[in-house]
Amino acid sequence: MVPEYLISALVYASLFAMMAMGLTLTYMTTKVPNFAYGSFVTLGIYSSYTMVKVYNSTPYVGSALGFVVGALVSALMYIAILRPLARRGSSLVSLMIATFGVDIGFIGVFGVYTDYLQYNLGHIDAPQFYALPDFSLWGYSGVTFAAPISVVVIVLAIYLLFTRTKFGVAMRAAVENPPLARVLGINVDMVTTVSWMLAGGFAGYAGALLTLQLPAGTATGSNFIVEIFSSSVLGGLTSIFGAAVGGLIIGGSEILVTLGLGLGFGTPGAVIIAAVFLLGGMLLIRSSARMRARVVGIVLAGFGVWIIADMVAGFPVDFMSYELVNGFGPNVTPFQQAIPLLIMVATLMIIPQGIFSINFRRLLRREKK
């Protein structure tokens, strides 16, 4: 029987991968970070809730609805708000603020809808509800399979779309060089609209699946926005597959690291962590040209050395090493949110273009010398 936390991490990671892919898609096509993306996820959440509570259906039907609703609303946001403002000549920051405003507007939308659900239809848990019931397969919840399979299917589909279809190639061209693509007869506007539809669809779909795993409410989607962005930044805002990988890493590590911090990694775990810090730090110091990355490397390596030294000496000083082995305790849960933030900070400081921008061949060649 696979431990609960691994299941949790798997599902979480898959959902993040999907959401991050959508966000990166919107960023690649319009170059504007879409702060309202979290609200698209909430649309999916409530599609699922509505299907289950109002129509007595399953969240999987809700996920299909979520995809459609997310796609339509996302396309609408592009057509009615971003495109006119961009045509008007708004700066990047103004567009960002506009998306921030749209997110705020959605607070009202969800407020109204949950009021309707609560007062007119009698579903009192509408504003904040527990995870919805799922079917069971071989002893695990359905979403344990649905989420990772969806990610794989989506990634494959995107890959095929981008490389094997004319439309996909047109999309890539439109993203890389819009004026040139227009010259070649590609309708960049339509490509962007379709990209946004896909992005919104992924968000809605992921949001619906999310209700099977976590308690959710009107603010859940918006609260995820930072984590989704961290995933996209980690992967590199110009790569959809990077976003998927970034999402997997951040989603997985959030659960696993928080758990580890809470319960302790145990002696072997702590040693591994210290070793990782030490090696990672040394790598950074040696191979990085940026001063900041070197500083981070020094700090990491120092920390690794400290942990090992402290452990060997039997924890004479009460600073972190003991807790790394035995756990910080339940107070650690708020820091779950901090992990993606820290990862994003680290990414921005060390490899601001994201991991998919690293030319691994070049890096390895240097190391061999």
Partner: protein, 390 residues
């Protein structure tokens, strides 16, 4: 009467906050989507520190946990404060200083990683940090009681003994004084060479760094100062309200509204902000008054209307008049008449007389440049001021 006090207090509070946002965003181009964190931090730390300090000094409830017995402790503290007005003033001052330090420190911390990067990453990072801070505020009970509100000592308590509404009036006046001080401070900064440097950092980083200005350092310093101001505003607000609770500090009320005010009033124009804050206060307070009448006709809670209306307003403004009501004007360090004399020293003794400008046109000109420069006493030899644009 209490409506006007509330109105003015709201206006002064949001004026101070929007001015600090204008400094960050309007003049330096930092989109601070995490504004709420600094204000809440100032309220939390300033208020909480003031509370604990007062309790310690007055010797109230020293063996009790500050948070659990908060109501009792603070009530006793307030009663004691009536007899010790200097302590009350000191508390406010200390709270302001603590708030400023906390705000500045948070500003430093939040900006450190992304100073050198583009605005979108900076905005994102600030948003994320604010979200994390939000979680800490909610769960770390010893700070402000987590999900339960805690009271802060009321330094204006003395005046509540004088009659109804007097205490609020005094609290409001303190807030207004603060807002005026902030306005003057920021105006001075903005009209100085430093202000022009900030605008250079905002508009063209390459140009400003080619002239030797350290963009990252500028941004960091601005963020620290603006956050300190916002934190002080938060602390004053907590004194006005008398308590600090987690639920007040929503992204909506403390990040979005200031942005709305800045964009509506005029990005990069402090007088515009003053106007924008006024319109916003009018709009918001008006909505508050009107809402109860609408409630019977709609099936949802009427408070949700605010969200779409204000969001819609923002988008419409961004579309129709993105520079705001009052556009940004270039600033002259010296006022126009002195500049005129430097450029064109045509006094009576030089052989030519200044143009005989009629009184009406002189009044008109000085009125139209009211938002443009400091007013100056009329100098002896009023040389002709060449009428430049902008």
């Amino acid at each position: 009467m209490s409506f006007s006090i509330d109105f003015i207090e709201f206006y002064a509070l949001y004026l101070a906050i929007s001015l600090s946002l204008n400094l960050e965003f309007g003049y330096t181009g930092i989109p601070n989507f995490g504004k709420v964190m600094f204000i809440a931090g100032g309220a939390a730390f300033g208020g909480a520190v003031a509370g604990r300090l007062a309790a310690n000094i007055l010797g109230v409830g020293t063996n009790l946990d500050f948070i659990t017995f908060n109501a009792r402790i603070i009530t006793q503290v307030n009663n004691d404060l009536v007899t010790d007005p200097t302590l009350a003033v000191e508390l406010v001052v200390i709270a302001l200083v603590v708030a400023a330090l906390v705000g500045g420190f948070l500003g430093f911390l939040a900006s450190y990683p992304a100073l050198r990067l583009r605005e979108d990453y900076l905005g994102l990072l600030l948003l994320g940090t604010a979200q994390f801070f939000d979680v800490v505020l909610r769960t770390y009970t010893p700070l402000i009681g987590g999900s339960q509100p805690i009271f802060v000592p009321d330094p204006y308590y003395y005046w509540s003994t004088l009659g109804p509404g007097v205490r609020d009036l005094i609290a409001m006046m303190v807030m207004v004084a603060f807002a005026i001080a902030v306005f003057i401070f920021i105006e001075k900064v903005v009209r100085s060479p430093l202000g022009r440097t900030l605008r250079a950092v905002r508009d063209n980083e390459d140009a400003s760094s080619s002239l030797g200005k350290d963009n990252a350092k500028m941004r960091r310093n601005v963020l620290i100062v603006a956050s300190a101001i916002a934190a002080m505003a938060g602390a004053l607000y907590s004194f006005y309200v008398g308590s600090v609770e987690y639920d007040t500090w929503t992204r909506f009320a403390w990040t979005f509204w200031p942005f709305l005010i800045v964009i509506m009033g005029g990005v990069g124009n402090n007088a515009g902000i003053a106007l924008g804050a006024f319109f916003f206060t009018l709009l918001f307070k008006g909505l508050e008054q009107v809402q109860p009448y609408l409630q019977p006709y709609i099936f949802f809670n009427v408070n949700w209307l605010q969200d779409f209306l204000l969001a819609g307003l923002l988008i419409v403004i961004l579309y129709v008049r993105p520079d705001g009501i009052m556009r940004e004007k270039s600033s002259h360090t010296l006022n126009k008449s002195i500049l005129g004399k430097i450029v064109n020293p045509k006094g009576v003794e030089n052989g030519g007389s200044g143009v005989n400008e009629g009184r009406i046109s002189r009044i008109f000109r000085s009125f139209s440049s009211l938002f443009h420069r400091k007013s100056s006493p009329a100098p002896e030899n009023q040389a002709e001021v060449p009428e430049k644009t902008g």
